[in-house]
Subunit: 214 residues, 2 copies
DNA sequence: GGGATATAGACAGTGCGACTATCCGATACT
DNA sequence: AGTATCGGATAGTCGCACTGTCTATATCCC
């Protein structure tokens, strides 16, 4: 497959594909001459992965490169998990974090096995800190109910990964699952909010009629 | 309070505060002269909210303005919910979405009361579409387990909102909860993944020792 | 075999979003 | 009186994700 065809079948402009090549998101094609290359099915797959990470997962190009490298590497699965987790959470220095908030999160997950530098633990502490700064209080175990739901989701994630055959397939699922899982949960939570709100306050749908499905 | 003090106590540079004033994220201070104003506690609160939305929630300035307007408005709570939900999910045209994927999500949440233009429903369909494009399969009900967890979280969210006294307080909690809730869940999910992975493969922590808490 | 089209690679340019810096004339403290 | 600070307008910076242009070959199709 030549560049023009790769561009047409993927729907991505040639200039953008060249940019991805430059940024090492996409491996170079097989050389067929001094200034000619041919691309295969794996480049198409890779392009789809790149677009998924960038558009649906909202990753930056630099982060996506790290994630893709983790899929390609021979390192143990735990490494891919770490990279993927760092990709979806903003890096936080434990230094500029209220120790009180960190302790609050640790109390919440005290019977979990989580290392001190887990990016999610720090991100959660950051949220707790912000939440309290904004004068909000934890009503009816809001935080611990989130933790319980997160546990369910994590079990599902590990099951999903375990179902894959090879280490490479697992690493790919780790990355895709971690990055897309965030977006999936966010969407489903939003739908569930409307559902629960409608159940609790049925009158709302009459005052503010919304188009229904089908 | 004058500008310099507002800047110092909030830790935000004067130029940035002026920028937020220009962008109508922050209301103007009380005029004390033709070119002098004084700011109060509510400006400090508002600045904290702005930083929370931008830094922790990852919103853009334009989106944050919409969210803040929703808090300030007199419109019913459902409106605030809608704005907050649209703020955390990327806008998707139902047109450029695989109808198959949309049908898949609808099957997943068929007993939920969700309107057709719910942004989360569309976002979830987008994820399903991408997921399948990347050659992944739904193993052991990955999707429906996410939906179940989302329902738990949504119930917690509505309880959290219901605990507030006034409509204004509720609207504020809706916005803060929706925006920060996404970040919170993302972090807790990440921590839970490490916990579950450690439980299932205890050997990993010996091969790749990680610092433990405390 | 020769002209139109395509290609790899280098490099400059674009558009946008979130600030950041500079100025100005008008107060406000001391 | 003199220095510092203010609100407001305008312009500039920086990073990021592309996008366009250029050159020297290479391939396709008469």
């Amino acid at each position: 497959m030549r560049m023009a065809e790769l561009s047409k079948t993927s729907g991505i402009p040639v200039a953008t594909i060249k940019f991805y090549l430059r940024e090492r998101l996409l491996p170079a094609g097989e050389r067929t001459g001094p200034n000619q290359s041919s691309y295969g099915e794996e480049h198409l797959r890779r392009l789809r992965l790149i677009r998924g990470l960038l558009e649906v997962g909202g990753l930056s190009v630099a982060t996506a490169r790290g994630v893709i490298d983790a899929v390609d590497s021979e390192l143990p699965l735990a490494h891919s998990f770490g990279v993927a987790q760092r990709a979806v959470s903003t890096t936080i220095e434990p230094g500029d974090l209220d120790p009180e908030a960190l302790a609050g999160i640790d109390r919440l997950i005290e019977d979990w096995h989580v290392s001190a530098d887990n990016p999610g633990r720090l991100a959660a502490a950051r949220v707790l800190e912000t939440f309290e700064t904004l004068g909000q209080r934890d009503e009816r175990n809001w935080f611990s109910r989130y933790a319980a739901a997160a546990l369910l989701v994590a079990e599902a994630d590990l099951d999903q990964v375990a179902a894959r055959a090879s280490r490479e397939a697992m690493a790919e699922t780790v990355v895709i699952g971690t990055v897309l899982g965030d977006a999936l949960f966010s969407g489903l939570r939003c739908a569930a909010q409307e559902h629960v709100a409608t159940l609790r306050h049925p009158v709302v749908s009459e005052l503010d009629p919304a188009p229904t499905r089908e």
